[in-house]
Assembly symmetry: C2
Homo-oligomer: 336 residues x 2
Amino acid sequence: MRLSDIGEFGLIARFAPRFLERLPAGTVGIGDDCAVLPWTKDRRLLVTTDMLVEGVHFLRAAIPARDLGYKSLAVNLSDIAAMGGRLTAAFLSLGIPACVEVEWLDAFFRGIRDLAAAENVPLLGGDTTKSPGPLVINLAVLGAARRGRIKFRSGARPGDAVVVTGSLGDSAAGLRVVLEKRPRGRDEAALVRRHNRPRPHIPEGAWLAGRKAVTAMMDVSDGIDSDLRRIMERSDCGAAVNLDALPLSALLRRTARRYGWDERELAAAGGEDYCLLATVRRDASAETAAAFERAFGRPLVRIGTITAAGDGLRYFAGGRPAALRRRGFDHFTSKV
Amino acid sequence: MRLSDIGEFGLIARFAPRFLERLPAGTVGIGDDCAVLPWTKDRRLLVTTDMLVEGVHFLRAAIPARDLGYKSLAVNLSDIAAMGGRLTAAFLSLGIPACVEVEWLDAFFRGIRDLAAAENVPLLGGDTTKSPGPLVINLAVLGAARRGRIKFRSGARPGDAVVVTGSLGDSAAGLRVVLEKRPRGRDEAALVRRHNRPRPHIPEGAWLAGRKAVTAMMDVSDGIDSDLRRIMERSDCGAAVNLDALPLSALLRRTARRYGWDERELAAAGGEDYCLLATVRRDASAETAAAFERAFGRPLVRIGTITAAGDGLRYFAGGRPAALRRRGFDHFTSKV
């Protein structure tokens, strides 16, 4: 049987159960943004790991080395943010093709250090080896969270508001600028920067994790069309998303208009936004949004509602049912 | 500048200092078998990560999938053993070429589970992606150790005895059986098994870490010719090794005789033994060895003595200076 027959999620579904038996007390294994382990009486240890492979997750010719270093760390920090954690330490493994020069690595490590310094997370170790194929980057990141202040994908209930902590689609538009080799005006350059140097929403995650009304949380890595389905699956519920409510930056709107791109498609299915997707109890959603805006000076944007199990993910626009042309991303079944 | 000009250790020497500034209190970063972080008042968290790349660390045609799974976890558990830790959790990232079948992955995960179950270490998470090149396996493993009961590479002092916890060279001989396509008699099969399914010396490591007389410790991954140099470098000392004293299994002796292999060369420079290499204060080395033998029913074998800084690594045989033909291994400068 080929991997492309079952896909990444099929693969995980096949193997995860074997490793979910007999977990130690206080431990959460495979299935969320991070694993959770006991630490002290009041604290839990969060662990996440991500592998980025050249030709699958990035093209070395299409992203500066410094941005790639920055982004590799950012996507892992975002997983800690998604559980509401603070950052503890990072570990880097690199498989390096012979053609990569030391100067390229200098810039790559500078990018890692840019974000590590900004977020105050030490790089404490790792491994380096040569690779006869693509450049391979693996990060493992540890974080910490107060017990009882960790949000999972599994807590959403029908009626909950679906919210996001930032605008959607900028990153996907930035990738499209790169892939379509669009001229780099100021807008295009800004979108590419959003794609190359995403900001992990660490403070937003910690803040949301501290609110009892927040029932589920994860980060937006594959696009809400993909990511919201994971909350639905873990929480056994459906969802309705209002495409008119997706938060789009002025930058994205202008650029989409310029090139005739479908801005909602980019926002819903593009991915790599690395803001947070959360669900909030209906009775507290207005108050939570107001408090978020006071804390961060930006809105917590409601994009939809959790519905009953079996409803699936439904989209609406202009008050009527709508559909996306593109679906979420699966590395194993995609042709990219 | 090419990576092959500076090698793996040159690369680490170039980048590690940038990440060793301003570490949090109680934290040990890059440079030992594991990083060490504060956990509870009395406990420390150990973290190690290793990347294994097809064509560099293994050949998929030369090792059964189940053994590869087992070994990938074993080499990481060995790093926890090297610091004296107990095992807490493991995390796996896999980059999978399209040609790998699901049945192969079934066997690979079975091998991981064999060792995870035997050592009682849960696999709590990871990442899977496709790879357009080689199969890439990254493990990150967490362990725990009592504060003050962690051994580093940096504590060796002139006069200390150099000891190992198991026989050397079996694994290298097993690899040679595979690469030279030797007929698989009972001896050859046993050596291949030693290469494919190394036993991490977790109990031995915890035991040695509990002895004050043990001054430095690491695991034997690249062969003592390479590994002892790392203790020398971190401890600022030299070493003298008696090649006559290297512990060789009867299996290795017989097989080396059969094929005309240099058994001492395999033992000193072959690598992948995954037993432990330690240094013990001279005044306590006999007592430590006797207690080790009572505890494990096997000897703690003295192979040499730590000498003054500047002496380098010197070999002796038959009471006279001797030399190895082969030197330790560096992935970036080697042609393999």
